[in-house]
Amino acid sequence: MNDFVELLNDLILSPSRKKKINLLKIFFCKSNLKDKGWAFCILTNRMDRKFLSVKELKELIIENSDEDLFRFSYDYVGDLAETISLLWRTNNEKNTKINLHEFMELFSSFDQKNKLKTKLKSFLDRSSENQRYAIIKILTGGLRVGVSNGLIKEALKLSGVREKSEIEEFWHGFKLPCTDLFEWLDGKELPKYINRKKLFNSFMLANNYNSNEFKTYKTDDYIAEFKWDGIRAQIIFSEDGKIFSRNGEDITNSFCDINTFIKGYFVVDGEIVVKKNNKVLSFNHLQKRIGRKNPSKKLIDDYPIHFIAYDILFYTNVDCRTLSLIERKKYLNRFINIYKFNNISTSSLIKFSSWDQLQNIKETSLNNHIEGVIIKKKTSLYKKGRVIEGWYKWKRNPFSVDFIIMYAQRGHGKRSSFYSDFTFGCWVDEQLTKLVPVGKAYSGYTNDELKSLDRWVRNNTVERFGPVRSLKPGLVVEVSFDNINYSSRHKSGVALRFPRFTRIRWDKPISEVCSLKYIKDLIN
């Protein structure tokens, strides 16, 4: 286990990608098969269960320490595992000697939470600080040690005989504890349980639109479609159909009103939205359906799902990914026409003859729920990730409004200890006497601006409520957001979509900030 503990620590402190890949490579080389497998599962977050919830962990540390001291410490450190590993009180600290796979097998064997907790406590008691940190990270999942799947694929490629494209193709198929992955990497055959047709396929992604680049591009070489404000999904239509989210998570159950049962094999790429009375509704409506594993009949009726299909990866035995977009669109249309689903349609193409015209369409479209347009090269193949001369997203110009900063909270992870999470608001009415919070933003500023903001927060705190500082109204920020809707969940009655800072208006007086009425008028 200590090699893995050290690996995690080294990964966190290694700034370069090359060094991280090298660390992983060394670890995979020197570890035994079982340890490698488990380490892989932990690093790629493919554990099939969450051993402990954040709430349970907090209970554990409060029992061991003190509720308030924990709260102060957590607020300061900004990482739960680290706070607990530093705060844990023990008289018996030494280095635990247990293999990673033994540890994982032991904890996987508990079916009762109480047993697991007792064992965890005894482990934390006799571990070093570094070990405690690793143990907690492993048991709660989500390591955040700066290791992407891409990086791990690189490391695996280096240590085995398989090509990266091959690794890519079967990446999602291997099951816990993934020892067979490493055997396969060494040249053995694929495990029998892996059925290529049940696996998630990596998505093609869009680059950001760049006006300079596009000046020289011919509009004839491209098609354009609306970018709907929903969630990206991949549907495998087969006798064992599946729906996958953008990161490959199985979301079939949440969207059971889409019929995926078909004799054959078709893989389609598109966007999930909520559509009622022939109208696509806002992302807020879709949110009611996200994460609900067994939606009730009422929920389904109130928020009916619609799938806007825009690409096809497999048409029975045809691997469409190797065909041009135009060819793929033909296959997609054929598929939709044959099966005539009531809640699946194809994405319609936008007619345009110049980039200026497309921009005009993008900005003036009356549909409130598009984020912009996607421009796709007609000859482009379907490839994983962001491909040059592939797809481009051209977002609508965001809304931009000046607000007043009202509250601040310390950030987590990279921004731990900085006041980086802000609640902003505007005047309740034209009297300019009372403020109402409108939204929260955590991004859009540079690192230097973050430091200045942090200093400003510390010097302008009026009151503290636990980790939240209430601030003297005095600082105006320009906030951009992609969309705005009515919301009963917020005090202001409105919800902003993806608000972020675009400018800090150190110079602007707060009396020039608008009132809530102006914000509400933006909705229409």
């Binding site: 700034p15 990279k414 921004r415």
Partner: protein, 336 residues
């Protein structure tokens, strides 16, 4: 709760003010008379009319500020009690850096102890902290959270020596505070047998020479500007923390960046600063040392200043000490 707050201590714009003594302690703005605990720039500022501190602190202020260090000074000695207006003042070592002291102020039999910055870990570059019974204790709380439990300093410095041995072709660039941390790290390295020349950023040489002159042995130290670029590999270079990521540091191509500070306890801090080799080495008391000190000086009341006051106040109150935050401004929140 046995006694009330002392009413003869005031918080003013210039800093903490002792009314019957008519002086300030570590003022942030120039004043008539200032008592200075130690020579770090957030405690010792220039242009005071008259300063009262240890000989070393006064000399360090002179070294740093030139003629603006003060117009008039008085050297405090450990063996005497000085009467200043209506109070008597006695000094005790604080163990923070060379020349750092605490002030024990006695007014009508009530004893106020101002610790300044302090630590309890042994440090060969300064006198060890000396506790004394008092009625009100003003403590710092730079590391006033139970998560701070500084590890053994030698084992941290061994990490550095190990890394130097393991990365023969690399330059080790370690961020240290110019006054105190720099010289303590060098002394620890020497004690562990590291006897190579240690190279210093220009901002560290003046103070290090001052230490050498005062018989704190630093061994062979040299300004990095005297080292040619071709010889950077395998050298140990100390610099101020701010230089770790600025233009100056870019001249070192193959480099391991380290930082010697109590903040290195927290991984996310280490990451934020792009540090590969964190050395947890602090000149401030950690949580355990603060509590030990409170017990040793056994006051009726504890006032907590710069740092993480809330947790300490909360804990001490729970332990039946009268305790509150002093909320002084002008002290660097996170410096060491």
């Amino acid at each position: 709760m046995r006694k009330t707050n002392i009413n003869w201590l005031k918080k003013k714009r210039e800093g903490l003010y002792c009314v019957p003594g008519n002086f300030f302690i570590d003022p942030v703005l120039p004043v008539e008379k200032a008592l200075i605990t130690h020579a770090h720039t957030d405690h010792a500022r220039p242009n005071n009319k008259s300063i009262f501190s240890s000989k070393e602190t006064i000399e360090l202020m002179h070294l740093r500020y030139g003629e603006s260090y003060c117009s008039d000074f008085q050297i405090a000695r450990f063996d005497e009690k000085i009467k200043i207006n209506d109070v008597t003042v006695q000094i005790l070592p604080a163990g923070h850096i060379f020349g750092s002291i605490q002030f024990l102020i006695n007014y009508k039999g009530y004893r106020l102890l101002i610790s300044g910055d302090y630590k309890r870990t042994k440090d060969k570059t300064c006198l060890s902290y000396e506790p004394v019974k008092c009625d009100t204790f003003i403590t710092e709380a730079t590391f006033g959270l139970p998560i701070f439990n500084h590890p053994n300093d030698e084992s941290e410095v061994k990490k550095l020596i190990k890394s130097i041995k393991a990365n023969v072709n690399k330059t080790h660039l370690i961020g240290v505070y110019a006054l105190g941390k720099c010289q303590r790290l060098i002394t620890l390295l020497r004690n562990l047998g590291y006897d190579e020349t240690i190279y210093l950023h220009g901002a560290l040489t003046k103070i290090s020479d001052f230490y050498s002159k005062n018989n704190i042995k630093l061994g062979n130290i040299s300004n990095i500007s005297e080292c040619s670029r071709s010889e950077y590999a395998n050298k140990l270079v100390l610099c101020p923390p701010s230089s770790l990521n600025d233009k100056w540091s870019q001249k070192f191509k193959n480099v391991v960046k380290g930082y010697a500070s109590g903040w290195m306890r927290i991984r996310q801090r280490v990451k934020q600063k792009n540090i590969e080799l964190p050395l947890i080495l602090s000149d401030h008391a950690d949580w355990g040392e603060i509590l030990k000190t409170v017990n040793d000086v056994n006051p009726n009341e504890v006032l907590v200043t710069h740092g993480r006051e809330e947790a300490l106040v909360h804990y001490l109150t729970k332990k039946n000490f009268k305790s509150s935050a002093l909320n002084l401004i002008g002290f660097e929140d996170e410096n060491e």
